[in-house]
């Protein structure tokens, strides 16, 4: 007799500390989130705590998260399109590290970066686009042997730019919900995370909530990243604080402004880093330091997503 057996649910859950431990010095990372939305802030802080070095980060646009990584000298190279702390100013630590010559940037446009991730995900070596033509983004480069190339389309003769696809060692994405198998739901905008997650050789998904797989399977059309792509899953509530997560919480601009003001000087940054990152033992202790009262004020006031 053969009975019907339910397939066991694979469990990809690991802790934030374990996840960060997997990232070796010198690794290349796709960095998820877009601007203020869903940056993997807790992952950035843990990379600092574990004293990682010499990472290369690929992203479209990131803000305080990559500034922290630059301040702590975790990252040495970026390939990206944008960084700033929107509404406040230029990212302070990055300015200093550039002046010191300890970090380097290769500049692309947002569409170029998003297509580079799509190309990596599709398993093709490059992608064509109609941006960057006629500019210094084509004429000037820093460390890549080849950054981009203009060709005439073999079919139409039209000029197009080719940009190299990216297959980073890890893709790091912070999402709203994931099940233990690694099926991911993202509310609100997806930025370039749909393509970026599929480009990584290994994919680590951090999420506000771990949900039952039945929750995912009752609404499969809501899955932004199916488990097939995902290597590890990390439960990480408030993992983008002090930035925002759609439907979950708003940004804490008071904290961001304090960060910005303090990081204008190296001493101020060192003080921030010690107080909020290196002297706390992990993400939960960081949240305790921020305090439940402050966090609850930021909770989304439904039906508004913020």
């Amino acid at each position: 007799m053969y009975g019907l057996v339910e397939a066991p649910v694979e469990d990809k859950r690991i802790t934030l500390k374990e996840a960060v431990k997997l990232v070796q010095d010198g690794s290349h990372l796709f960095w998820g989130g877009f601007g203020f939305q869903r940056p993997p802030m807790a992952f950035a802080q843990e990379l600092v705590r574990q004293n990682k070095r010499n990472l290369t980060i690929y992203t479209c646009g990131s803000e305080m998260d990559i500034d922290i990584l630059s301040g702590a000298r975790v990252v040495s190279r970026f390939e990206l399109a944008f960084y700033a702390i929107e509404g406040i100013g230029l990212v302070p630590n990055i300015q200093r590290r550039i002046r010191e010559g300890s970090i380097e940037f290769e500049d692309y446009s947002n569409l170029a970066m998003a297509l580079r991730f799509l190309g990596g995900a599709l398993g093709v070596p490059f992608m064509p686009l109609k941006s960057m033509l006629g500019t210094d983004m084509l004429a000037k480069k820093r460390f890549r042997t080849k950054k981009a190339e203009v060709i005439k389309c073999p079919f139409t003769g039209e000029k197009v730019v080719l940009v190299p696809s990216v297959r980073p060692d890890f893709s790091i994405v912070h999402a709203q919900r994931v099940d233990r198998e690694g099926n991911v739901q993202i509310d609100g905008i997806k930025g370039e995370d749909v393509e970026g997650a599929r480009a990584g050789k290994k994919v680590i998904v951090l999420a506000e909530e771990i949900v039952e797989t039945e929750f995912i399977r009752a609404q499969p059309d809501q899955t932004a990243i199916p488990n097939i792509y995902v290597t590890h899953v990390v439960e990480c509530p408030w993992g983008s604080y002090p930035m925002m997560v759609y439907n979950y919480y708003d940004y804490d601009m008071e904290h961001v402004q304090m960060y910005y003001d303090q990081c204008k000087s190296e001493e101020g940054w060192q003080k921030y880093c010690e107080e909020y990152i290196t002297s706390v033992d992990g993400h939960i202790e960081f949240l305790q330091k921020i305090g439940i009262e402050r966090l609850m004020k930021l909770k989304a006031k439904k039906p508004l997503p913020y």
Partner: protein, 264 residues
Amino acid sequence: MSKKYAKPEEFNTLELMAVCGSKQIKNGEVVFIGTGLPLIAAMLAKKTHAPRAKIVYEAGFIDSNAKEIALSIADSRLGYRASGAIGLIETLGLMLQGGHVDLGFVGAAQIDEYGNINTTYIGSFEKPTVRLPGSGGGNDIVSSAKRIVVIMTHEKRKMVKKLDYLTSPGFLDGPGAREKAGLSGGGPSLVVTNLCQMDFDPGTKRMRLATIHPGISVQQVLENTGFDLVVPKNVPTTEFPTYEELALLRAIDPTGIYIPREKT
């Protein structure tokens, strides 16, 4: 009902600039905007002459009807009554590069006489003094939208003969250059500053004074411009905001996040 225009002492320069930007948005158009004054301009346009304008933010919010001021183009506030929340391949790829975007708003740290824009480096590429935010979606928008409006402050160090770095293409080095480079969008159509509005001479593609803000002289504009601006014989004064527009602007940005209330 006829329009009632405010008097110059009843509005500030940022309000005037926001109204100028708003007037560039036509009803029903698909418009790419960022944060800052363009956001206010778009919100104003939707409340006045262009209720059916579809406002798109490159991070993925489509046809947004935000009721609160957003600080980031990825701000959840922009999701309010949006028709879509997708991603960059959708907005910058399918929608923009696919040819569906009528108008884009961008800022500039430097601009030259052909409307080429720098948002990346100040100083030399080898040893920059300031590293600016970079292209973001700016280059994509300026490359592919049918029209571009630039909003920026008018200073000699920003209106330059030669850019420190060319991030986004205006008319490059003159007539026909965009087409030769393979660019599909229409290029810049208007530059709105705190002193004036400038368009581009159709023959030479060089920047040309179009209207001048109240209380500003042509001489002042020229003194603050680092290249040879085309100045026509007659330069009209910029149309003043109406009382209705001013009241709406103050309702849109009640706490003065982008338009501080004091006279500037």
